[in-house]
Symmetry: C2
């Protein structure tokens, strides 16, 4: 008699992969969107290089991460945005449980303010961006996922985003991603990534090394608020 197997997706398999503290640390570190080397990840996870290598092998096999050899380094990154979303939802739930691993520190406020979620902007600024695009008619819900309106296309082009390039690549341009701190959607997809990259290029903001925090300059924040007003109509 075959062992009683339940139908449905094999949720235990991947949950177990995430369920080990060392691997969870690795995945959390990769949520920054940056590709990290095996040694860096070993440091992040707090384990030796050999154990980290073992963990990375399992994560690869489970398709949670992908690798890219570069010389004698091997860079690892999350396998895709869907992985990032799983982690975000998990984080949101865990945070809601109040089960933070350390007491809330000064970093937490900054994380809620603006942080990188895999490769796009999350936190209060991420929500502001998302809401503003809707409020100004630059984006609308196309049933399932959001979609840029024609006006929206012009808007992001004006911001310096190479929109044609985004469309040409096969990745979905607009996706929503649930924010774990505020439980509200923000913009993911290749457009979300491109916008964050653009903000960095224009010097509005930069990622704080070794964290997921995004720090806006005061001038950058002014420009950002101008581009993505929260209360449209109050000015013109």
């Amino acid at each position: 008699m075959v062992k009683a197997m339940k139908h449905g997706p094999d949720i235990a398999r991947i949950a177990a992969l995430i369920g080990d503290p060392a691997r969870a640390n690795i995945l959390t570190a990769l949520m920054s969107g940056k590709a990290l080397t095996a040694s860096e990840l070993a440091g992040e996870a707090g384990v030796s290089a050999s154990t980290a290598s073992s963990h990375l092998g399992r994560l690869l096999e489970g398709r949670l991460v992908k690798e890219a050899r570069q010389g004698r380094h091997k860079y690892f990154a999350l396998a895709g945005e869907d992985v990032a979303q799983v982690l975000e939802v998990l984080m949101g739930f865990a945070a809601g449980q109040g089960h933070l691993r350390t007491r809330t520190g000064p970093k937490d406020a900054q994380l809620r303010e603006a942080r990188v979620c895999y490769n796009h902007l999350a936190g209060a600024r991420g929500i502001q961006l998302y809401d503003s695009l809707f409020a100004r008619g630059f984006m609308m819900l196309d049933g399932d996922d959001p979609r840029l309106t024609e006006a929206g296309e012009g808007f992001v082009r004006d911001l310096g985003v190479d929109f044609d390039h985004l469309v040409k690549s096969r990745a979905p341009v607009c996706l929503t991603c649930l924010d774990w701190s505020a439980r509200r959607p923000h913009l993911a997809g290749s457009l979300g990534r491109a916008l964050l990259k653009r903000f960095e290029m224009m010097g509005w903001a930069h990622r704080v090394r070794d964290t997921r925090i995004i720090s806006f300059t005061s001038e950058g924040l002014r420009q950002f608020n101008m581009a993505f007003p929260v209360n449209p109509g109050s000015r013109g």
Copy 2:
């Protein structure tokens, strides 16, 4: 020196809880929304009563399930909709990986068509309901979560939903929940639950025992399509 603890929510803790096959089976069974007894869950998980009891104790401690004593039975249910959402996202990812535990059977088509997600309608019919409410102006996005318009309130009242009762209870009325088969949002929250219950009371549909499938009668489906048209404007 304190062990290097990473900041952020303790994602490993709950992922490990879900990561055990027996516990994953238990949680999956509870996704039907029904409260099940410890022995039933032991059967679902394919383990002895004593091990199931141990697992349920851990799930309780981790706040993933809640219990309700009833005579000599002890009923277990998912602790909340947030737990259900975590599981849905996990299932969606696992399904996307193609890592189904059994080969896809005839049940899968029915599951995609209409199924219960925790306690509300998901699958193609769930998406239809969600989209139709928006298209007809009965629901709109209030920034974060959807909200019924005044017309929408009248509409659900006409369907026989005790809307005042929903509002009085402290639970959120409207929430969205991401569908794992179609990756599109559908309606959760107490309204989502109330609507499904209403469909069952009116005999439009019923849950297939021991599965998450919701089976519509042919007449029930006709009524459902009438109440929640997909292409509004084609008729009136």
